[in-house]
């Protein structure tokens, strides 16, 4: 009992509560109480950031943060803050900050904001919980909660298109959740559900029940692959683009797709372990799947004329980098995968912020309408460029660091064709991003003025709450690329994680 109340065991719970409680309070906030809502949001974020910093310090000092309550037989609810969780938590907390500010600006004056921010906070809580989950059952729990809390955000606009997208989203994610549950249950019946362990815990059972382990793996990857948007389970993602921009940003950069990717990392490294995965011949198919996703989604992105849809397909492609890195099953590739989790988040959130800014400020949704944007909104366009170039892998934006590590990792494990794949993907990325930049910077603005022009007489090119988050994340994605060598950078932290994962 005493172990329940030490600060190290309570910290994970507090981190979840720091967004959950404000979220619930926000639900109860009247619509017009804007200040109160903002205050609640900001307090939650501030507390969360402080707690995360505390945990970050603790974990690097070697402390363990573990909270456990009984739930199912031999599968308790465990929250466990380790280095990998912190990577994800830090990302989601920081991006929560940016996205909340952005959303406040974005939704100014629109109805149902209390509901929106309530679910928004729930969504972050679920994401953080998912990151802190200490075993598969806990992970599953938060995985489903995430689905539930994001759905209201996807359909927030409440238009028929939004509802359609929401239905598709649910069909996919709940289906995926079910598959995941089957996989988890199957695995539980084979090896029960201990905590995530570096190097996995199934190795002992591999002789007796290889078929079961393989099927469980397939089920879980299929379940996680829905959220991670692996082809052919990806098509909810582009459709979910009807959601408001902050939601798209959150879906793509932090919460949903990352939850899937994070889950894949957990399953491969901490449940099965690299060795067992290789023995069961599981990593190679996963690798192919990731490869197919990368190329397919990139090609599809080329054909999209809607900015957000193009970004969505880009997400599909980029998230499979993470899967790719995991499936390569080598330490360097693992670093690439884990660091890309953060890098892609930062860059993609920037892109969505900017796309939202275009839509909000000038009513621009299509690629063709982007001509001359750089003149009207140079800052946003600059942030957009940083994100886009990062996606292509142009240094020194963060993306190239991931790419280098993935490539090196592929060569390390003797899969040189992956380098070719990365090259091809980079080319395709360039093919669908550069035209946007071209139009933005070098196109001619419409002769008869913009079709709509909000914020014309503002101090900045758009509402400051819309602009600042974009600039902030763009700057971050630059900085984490430039200062990748520092210990506190995502890269440094990823190497720290991997050094633990592959210690044995």
């Amino acid at each position: 009992m005493s172990a329940l109340f030490t600060w190290t065991s309570l910290l994970p719970v507090l981190i979840i509560l720091s967004s959950l409680i404000p979220g619930l309070l926000i639900f109860a906030t009247p619509e017009h109480a804007r200040t109160r809502r903002t205050l609640l949001n900001m307090t939650g974020i501030a507390i969360k950031l402080i707690l995360v910093a505390l945990m970050l310090a603790g974990v690097s000092q070697g402390l363990t943060f573990r909270f456990e309550i009984p739930f199912l037989p031999s599968a308790p609810l465990v929250l466990h803050g380790d280095a990998l969780s912190l990577q994800f938590i830090a990302l989601s907390s920081i991006l929560w900050l940016a996205t909340t500010i952005y959303a406040i600006g974005y939704l100014e004056g629109s109805p149902l904001r209390s509901r929106f921010f309530g679910y928004f906070s729930l969504c972050v809580s679920a994401t953080v919980g998912l990151a802190l989950a200490g075993n598969l059952v806990t992970f599953l729990l938060f995985y489903e909660l995430l689905t539930l809390s994001t759905f209201p955000l996807v359909v927030h606009r409440g238009t028929p298109a939004a509802l359609k997208a929401g239905r598709v989203y649910l069909a996919y994610t709940l289906g995926g959740g079910t598959l995941l549950m089957m996989g988890v249950a199957l695995l539980h019946s084979l090896v029960t559900t201990p905590d995530f362990t570096a190097g996995g815990y199934v190795l002992a059972q591999i002789e007796d029940s290889s078929l079961g382990l393989q099927i469980a793996f397939i089920l879980m990857i299929a379940g996680l692959g829905v959220k991670a948007a692996l082809v052919p389970l990806h098509s909810w993602l582009p459709q979910a683009m009807v959601a408001p921009a902050p939601v798209s940003a959150l879906l793509h950069a932090v919460a949903v797709v990352k939850a899937g990717a994070f889950g894949i990392i957990r399953v491969v490294y901490d449940v099965y372990g690299v060795e067992a995965s290789a023995l069961l011949a599981l990593t190679q198919p996963l690798l192919w799947l990731a490869a197919v996703t990368m190329i397919y989604a990139s090609i599809r992105a080329l054909q999209q004329q809607d900015i957000k849809r193009r970004l969505a397909f880009s997400t599909v492609s980029q998230v499979s980098y993470i899967t790719l890195g995991v499936a390569l099953a080598g330490p360097i590739a693992a670093v690439g995968a884990i660091v890309h989790l953060v890098h892609q988040g930062l860059m993609k959130v920037t892109l969505f912020f900017c796309a939202g800014n275009f839509a909000e400020t000038l009513g621009i949704h299509k690629v063709q309408e982007m001509d001359g944007l750089g003149q009207r909104m140079p800052w946003t366009m600059a942030a957009f460029s940083v994100g886009a170039l990062g996606m292509i892998g142009v240094p020194p934006v963060a993306g190239f660091i991931s790419k280098i590590y993935l490539g090196m990792g592929a060569l390390e494990v003797g899969q040189p064709w992956v380098v070719l794949l990365l090259a091809g993907s980079a080319l395709l990325n360039a093919a669908y991003f550069l035209p946007l930049l071209y139009r933005g910077w070098f196109g001619k603005p419409p002769a008869d003025g913009w079709q709509q022009d909000n914020f014309k007489n503002h101090r900045f090119e758009t509402h400051w709450m819309l602009l600042m988050p974009a600039l902030f994340t763009a700057l971050l994605s630059l900085l984490v690329g430039i200062f990748a060598g520092s210990i506190l950078s995502p890269l440094g932290w990823s190497e720290f994680i991997v050094s633990r994962e592959f210690a044995q």
Partner: protein
């Protein structure tokens, strides 16, 4: 206290200035005349290189520095060219639109170009290289004309391709070097032919020799003159520079690949390609009627020579030091001269000389670099050519020598045509005096081919060797022959067939086709549609059937269920 942090200022100064420009866009007009100062730190460290700098918190393995001649002189050349062109551009671009955009790209490209030179590891090089290549796109299409946009598209496509190839090469070589990105480690690592090929292709696309030159004759004419000057003078050289440091000729036996392949095996092919490129550039250049295009083709031709030297260096590892000097001399020489020539394309359009002195300056300023490029005695060209010849002679590779002579002749013919076309520009020039500032900068750059041999020791040493009379004759007769042929042609007013002038670059078409194709639906979408319409009728029937008679139907189902269960319970 170590001054190594000075290396940091080399790429950062332009970026810092860039930030200032962004922050105070309104004072752009006041700042532009001073922008060339951003190259000062680079020039400074080129003169007095401190210890190399390893910023631990940058990307892994980042290391900037280099005190050897290669880096310092290349840095000096690059910084000088950028400074000169920058100062020139401050004047020449002053009236144009999107000035801020131009300078932003300019400074970014500058920063990248400087960074790639001082990089001691592949990643830093790659960072600089990417910054430079992509920013240069902004310079290429600055004018916004359709030609510029077409050229820009092709340039960008190939630049990205080149970068990707380069990155693949870097990855493979870093893997061979146990994960290290330091060039110093690479030199002890085995080199795979595939790695070599990708690096060669990636950097070659920048260097612009045949057959990777396709973008070059389009991009140079499209860009504003100062941009063309740095493009041709500094940026394409970065490709050569890169090849030199990426593909060393240290054919150390114990790091050879298992197959026994070394870079030397490709040496002859590279030299042949280089020579072909030299003649190809001339041949194509002669068909052009635009001065800048001709100059661009001349660059293709000259890059061929540089490739020739590179190829040679792979074979003659023992003479690496000598060859390095030759390469440096050649690169500096060509960079300076070509930059001056490109600038003149703008200068001659900008106005008419208003005094005899100006006319003299104009003519000589045009002729010096042109003739230097042909290999005029006492100029940098002579130093370069002679150095190359010496190496060949020392290595007893005399078969190649005649080709160099022929090359000199053809170069002369091409440059004569270039000068001819440049002078023709004067006819279209505005009827106003040439801005003095531009003239001054241009003139000082034009003099460089002549002055440099006396100021810069490596070139001076190379030039010293040409001072024997027979050497002077040997250097001069091809120029003379070329001039004679050219003057004869001009005198007889021979015209090239028109179709040649209108011969289009097929790659433009490919580029367009690629762009269009990429927008078409190539792959099917796996989108699900949740439609119930099809089942609606059947559903209605079902509903009607089950609607009435709950009791009867339940009883029937009860009996039916009992029957089934009875079969299971009693019969089975």
């Amino acid at each position: 206290m170590s001054l190594s942090f000075l290396w940091l200022t080399v790429p950062l100064t332009p970026l810092l200035i860039l930030l200032i420009l962004i922050s105070f866009p309104r004072s752009l007009a006041r700042l532009t005349p001073w922008l060339w100062l951003s190259c000062l730190p680079a020039l400074l460290v080129a003169v007095m290189p401190p210890d190399s700098f390893r910023p631990g918190i940058l990307w892994p393995g980042a290391s900037w520095g280099g005190s050897e001649m290669l880096v310092t002189s290349w840095l000096g050349l690059t910084a000088g060219l950028w400074a000169g062109a920058g100062a020139y551009a401050a004047s020449s671009m002053s009236g144009s639109k999107h000035l801020l955009r131009f300078w932003l790209f300019w400074l970014l490209a500058l920063s990248g170009n400087l960074l790639l030179i001082i990089a001691q590891d592949a990643l830093s090089f790659y960072v600089g290289f990417s910054m430079m290549s992509l920013s240069a796109y902004g310079l290429v299409i600055h004018t916004g004309t359709s030609a510029a946009r077409r050229a820009g598209r092709l340039y960008l496509q190939l630049a990205v391709l080149g970068e990707v190839l380069l990155l693949s090469g870097i990855l493979m070589q870093a893997h061979a070097a146990q994960g290290s990105f330091m060039f110093s480690d690479w030199h002890n690592a085995p080199l795979q032919p595939l790695t070599a090929l990708t690096v060669l292709a990636g950097l070659g696309l920048k260097a612009g020799f045949w057959p990777l030159h396709v973008w070059l004759p389009l991009a140079h004419p499209a860009a504003p003159a100062p941009a063309s000057a740095v493009l041709s003078g500094a940026m394409i050289k970065a490709g050569i520079f890169g090849i030199w440091i990426f593909l060393p000729n240290f054919a150390v036996p114990d790091v050879a690949t298992p197959s026994g392949w070394t870079l030397a095996d490709w040496s002859e092919a590279a030299m042949l390609t280089g020579l072909f490129s030299a003649f190809y550039g001339v041949a194509l250049g002669l068909t052009r009627t635009d001065a800048k295009q001709v100059l661009a083709y001349s660059s293709v031709s000259q890059m061929g020579y540089l490739l020739f030297i590179l190829g040679l260096s792979w074979q003659l590892s023992v003479q690496r030091e000598t060859l390095l000097v030759v390469l440096l001399v050649y690169a500096v020489h060509h960079g300076v001269a070509k930059a001056a020539l490109f600038l003149s394309a703008d200068l001659l359009k900008s106005g008419r000389p208003n005094s005899r002195l100006q006319s003299v300056i104009l003519v000589s300023g045009l002729l010096f670099p042109a003739l230097a490029l042909c290999g005029l005695v006492f100029s940098s060209g002579a130093a370069a050519k002679a150095g190359l010849k010496d190496v060949l002679e020392n290595a007893a590779m005399l078969d190649w020598l005649p080709w160099l002579q022929v090359g000199a002749v053809t170069s002369t013919i091409l440059l004569t045509r270039a000068c001819y076309l440049l002078f023709n520009l004067q006819e279209k020039a505005k009827a106003e005096p040439i801005p003095r500032q531009r003239l001054l900068i241009w003139a000082s750059m034009s003099m460089a081919p002549v002055l440099l041999p006396w100021l810069w020791s490596p070139m001076n040493q190379a030039l010293q060797k040409t001072l024997a009379v027979y050497k002077l004759v040997e250097l001069s007769w091809p120029i003379a022959l070329g001039l004679v042929i050219a003057i004869f042609v001009i005198w007889r007013r021979w015209q090239l067939p028109v179709f040649l002038a209108h011969m289009n670059n097929p790659f433009l078409r490919y580029s367009m086709r690629f762009t269009r194709r990429s927008k078409k639906a190539l792959l099917p979408a796996f989108d699900v549609s949740l439609s119930t319409k099809r089942f609606r009728a059947a559903e209605r029937r079902m509903n009607r059937y089950w609607q009435g008679g709950t009791v009867n139907r339940s009883a029937a189902l009860l009996v039916g269920f009992m029957l089934v269960a009875a079969v299971f319970m009693l019969v089975l």
